[in-house]
């Protein structure tokens, strides 16, 4: 990925998205940038957002406040462009977002079993993060034993931001999965349906295997 990943027009169009996102969603970039590039890196990203025409003051973002959904994409594009990062770093940012989110911490009480996370916590969590669309889990099964595993399907409906964000979400879910269970040897998410590919909703097939 290189600089000028997105045109001003595209940004403008994204920013026209009526959806909103909680400030907590920006915490992933903030911490990851600080971790990798320090305070100077954060300033550089802020400057890039300014260049894109939608300046973000990361330190002033409140995790529980609503922000324009498009701003999340501005933040991600600015971050990737500033440091010339690619998908690998984007995945890490998504996982970091799960790790440091205050909202997720509040949801820890639901992280009792993989099934509860999947069936109960995930839809509710979506509502805490986004003010549009919905997350619907289905087809969950799990064999909780050594060498066992399970899978489930997550469908996201009425939510269309940017194809890059589809990739981001898959790793965000992966990050949450890793917070819930220490016995997962491997967690994989595959976007089996995507609205950007003409499907009616996004669909992720999530699989995991135990140690």
């Amino acid at each position: 990925m290189s600089k000028n990943l997105i045109t001003e027009e595209e940004i403008k169009k994204i920013m026209e998205n009526p959806g909103k996102i909680k400030g907590s969603a920006f915490k992933g970039e903030l911490e990851y940038i600080l971790e990798k590039k320090g305070e100077e890196g954060l300033k550089a990203v802020a400057k890039e957002t300014e260049r894109l025409g939608y300046p973000i003051k990361y330190r002033e973002i409140k995790e529980t406040e609503w922000y324009p959904l498009g701003l999340k994409m501005v933040s991600l594009f600015a971050t990737l462009a500033t440091f010339n990062w690619g998908k690998k770093e984007l995945a890490e940012i998504a996982k970091s977002s799960a790790k440091v989110s205050f909202i997720i911490r509040l949801f820890l009480r639901h992280f009792i079993s993989p099934e509860k996370v999947f069936r109960i916590a995930a839809p509710r969590l979506w509502k805490r993060y986004f003010n549009l669309g919905s997350l619907e889990p289905s087809d969950f099964y799990n064999v909780e034993k050594k060498g066992g595993g399970g899978q489930g399907i997550l469908r996201i409906k009425n939510f269309k931001l940017h194809p890059l964000y589809c990739f981001y979400l898959s790793h965000f879910f992966k990050g949450i999965a890793n917070l819930t269970e220490s016995r997962f040897k491997e967690v994989t998410l595959e976007e089996t349906k995507c609205m950007f590919r003409g499907d009616n909703y996004h669909e992720y097939l999530m699989k995991w295997i135990y140690y």
């Binding site: 790790k99 009792i112 917070l179 819930t180 269970e181």
Partner: protein
């Protein structure tokens, strides 16, 4: 206000409160000095505070999402604390090791409490970690100190055991020694360095017919108040003088031979051991022997005297004329008879000496006169052998000494007789006198045959005659020096000699005057 407006206002307030609450929690997270981790119910680290970052060196993104054994690797301790935290609704504490980002392991104390939802389901854990490195160091120092103390204690106990062993051995030795002392046939007394009696064995109690408890611990001068101990205390003096094999009659049928041995440990004098050997039986046998010799000698002297006078009468022609040849034979017989009479006289003297009844007439006498008397009796002999004789008197007049004159004459006579007999014709014999305040010293010097070096030790023994003396002179009983020595010593004097074979001999003796002499007289 409409209901919608009211709820909006209420929601706004709630959001503000919520944000304030979050800020408050963030502040606590950041300033809390104790390291705190939030764990999911599946032991995944889901949150850490600032203190945990500082302690572990990990940034939140590096550690959140990791299982707890990412930093706490001791599985057993973790299982234990987890089990407790699940069962008990209180904080449980365990000691374990924390792995830091730099891979270093430090000792920590972990406290854990389970989190439960309203329905009582376990939803995770709070874990606090306290660095106990300093505490451990202190504990280690304390343990080392304790260990050192334990070792010291152990060493001390070993030493005490050794000492106890040594004490037991010493006690056994002491008991053995004590048993020997108790059962010793000789009497033993031990006077400490202050001359107090600190030991008396049963045999000594029997000797003195006295009880240990009556005398133990008493100084020697106090012991003189006990009648049976009187002679011993006089012999030993107030400070236990050195005594070697001194005979001491205690009562009618008891004579002891007393010796003292100074006891020392290293250079420290501990006191004096007094050994009391019962010689009553030996004395009795000796007396019987002496009596037998005395009786025999007396019985022999009478017929020998008769023979002497008969022979004298024959030689003098009182019984008629005899031929020259007869006279020569009778003369030789007379001389032999004389020698036998001399021998009998010497034997009688010896028996008297041994019976202790030899000195019976001590009188104050001019000692020079005694010597002169003896010299006069040898004048003919000296002249006959052409001996160069000298009598060296003192410049000052000698003080009078209290001696048994007859016996002292005999002593001097025996010495002078030997000097003349064993000095060849033309030789020299000198008698000299010396006086130095408390004693008179007499020296009888000759240029005679001398005494062989290897026989000098036996000179004063009964019947001893040196081999060169026997060769030179067939006469002599071997009793002269024995008698002289006994006479001198009975007067409290000393006798000794210097001699070299073929060069001559000098016999010395001393006699005490004044106090020492008075003491000697007391013992008579």
């Amino acid at each position: 206000m409409t209901e919608e407006k009211f709820y909006k206002e209420e929601l706004k307030i709630l959001k503000e409160d919520f944000n304030d609450l979050k800020t408050y929690l963030d502040e606590i997270r950041n300033i809390l000095p104790v390291s705190v981790c939030t764990l999911s119910s599946f032991w995944v680290i889901v949150d850490i505070n600032k203190a945990t970052e500082t302690l572990t060196g990990y940034r939140p993104l590096e550690i959140i999402g990791q299982p707890i054994n990412f930093i706490l690797q001791k599985k057993q301790e973790l299982e234990k604390i987890k089990e407790k935290a699940e069962k008990e609704e209180k904080i449980v504490v365990e000691e374990t090791l924390l792995t830091l980002k730099n891979k270093k392991e430090i000792p920590v104390s972990i406290s854990m409490v389970g989190r439960k939802d309203r329905e009582g389901n376990l939803i995770g854990y709070f874990l606090s970690i306290t660095d106990t490195t300093e505490t451990k160091k202190y504990q280690n120092r304390l343990e080392k100190g304790t260990k050192a103390l334990e070792e010291s204690r152990s060493a001390l106990m070993n030493m005490l055991e050794d000492i106890e062993g040594a004490r037991r051995e010493a006690e056994e030795e002491r008991n053995k020694t004590f048993a020997i002392i108790q059962n010793f046939v000789d009497g033993l007394l031990f006077f400490d360095k202050e001359n107090n009696l600190s030991l008396i064995n049963p045999q000594a109690e029997v000797f003195f017919d006295i009880k240990r408890s009556d005398i133990i611990g008493k100084p020697i001068f106090e012991l003189s108040t006990f009648p049976t101990l009187g002679p011993l205390t006089i012999l030993l003096g107030r400070e236990v003088r050195g005594v070697f094999r001194k005979e001491l009659p205690i009562k009618e049928h008891l004579t002891l031979e007393v010796s003292t041995v100074p006891m020392v440990s290293g250079e420290e004098k501990l006191g004096n051991l007094v050994i009391l050997h019962d010689i009553t039986r030996e004395k009795m046998i000796e007396r019987m022997k002496t009596e037998f010799v005395s009786l025999s000698a007396h019985q022999l002297r009478t017929p020998l005297s008769a023979i002497k006078w008969t022979l004298r009468m024959l030689l003098d022609g009182d019984l008629g004329e005899i031929t020259k040849e007869q006279k020569e034979y009778i003369g030789k017989t007379y001389e032999s008879n004389e020698r036998m009479i001399d021998l009998i006289n010497d034997l009688l003297n010896v028996t008297r000496i041994e019976e202790g009844r030899y000195l019976y007439e001590p009188t104050l006498t001019d000692f020079q006169a005694i010597v002169q008397f003896v010299i006069n009796s040898f004048k003919e002999e000296i002249k006959k052998k052409r001996i160069k004789f000298e009598f060296k008197k003192t410049e000052e007049k000698l003080p009078e000494v209290k001696v048994d004159v007859e016996k002292m004459r005999l002593a001097v006579q025996n010495l002078l007789n030997n000097a003349i007999s064993y000095t060849p014709s033309g030789g020299e014999v000198t008698i000299s006198l010396k006086y130095d305040k408390d004693k008179i010293e007499v020296a009888v010097k000759d240029t005679g045959i001398g005494i062989p070096q290897d026989q000098q030790e036996r000179v004063f023994s009964k019947f001893f005659r040196a081999t060169n003396a026997i060769r030179k002179e067939t006469k002599g009983t071997g009793l002269g020096l024995y008698i002289a020595k006994n006479i001198i010593e009975a007067h409290g004097g000393k006798i000794w000699f210097e001699s070299k074979e073929d060069k001559g001999s000098t016999f010395y003796f001393t006699l005490p005057v004044e106090k020492r002499f008075e003491e000697f007289l007391k013992r008579l």
